[in-house]
Symmetry: C2
Subunit: 148 residues, 2 copies
Amino acid sequence: MLYYKDIETNIVQKFGSYEVTHEEVIEFASKYDPQPFHLNDEAAAKTHFGRVSASGWHTAAMTMRMLVDHMNAHKQAGLGSPGVENLRWIKPVHPGDTLRCELVTLQKRQSESRPEMGILKSMMTVFNQHDEKVMTMESTSLIEVRGN
Amino acid sequence: MLYYKDIETNIVQKFGSYEVTHEEVIEFASKYDPQPFHLNDEAAAKTHFGRVSASGWHTAAMTMRMLVDHMNAHKQAGLGSPGVENLRWIKPVHPGDTLRCELVTLQKRQSESRPEMGILKSMMTVFNQHDEKVMTMESTSLIEVRGN
């Protein structure tokens, strides 16, 4: 298991390959973001989206899945996140796209109030299959401190 | 339909009532955020979450649904969002909670590059049934400019 002490800063971790299906875009949007440009091409064509595009919250959720799979593969003792800064939806994500992640841990420090927790500041960039940035965010995440 | 010119700033809009079910918490987490503390009480009890809690991205998605329903009820000509600042998950959201929203539009301006779009800066606060803040975010959203 990887704990706080094992996290290295300023190294780009590349991971993930998430195929965005039409079915999943519609399913997520129907449940959580039923705006016309997330539900059908005709409505999207009348907007800057051009054609049906995933909810930004869906893109964030797909990114989280890639991140959790990455953490599991590396057995990282994550403890969730208090928040995110500067979440940017840069380009629309469309059905048929394949997303991937680049993650850099920028800073790490041990919590003063809860010394069993380490606090990581990271920059996440999500790309599509054309290597275009579709989403960026700066996240804060928590990780177990053990064996110090 | 409500367009850019109809949006008033500095008025608190209260809306939404979203019942967070155990089934939905597990379904979202299984798909997008399969960390143990989002999947079962036993694992969550070993962390600061205490018991099973919704993924923060699920809370954001439920909030979006309340917002879209509110915009639809008021026939607001929304055009999506380029991003969010300072997304904060303040308290865990648990199955059985009921969420509600308070939204204030802080600023509005017309886009210079795309004058058919208005840009709104808003503060969203999400409360649980105990009137505890569970999530806050500052969002940027786009709305149609027409009939000016």
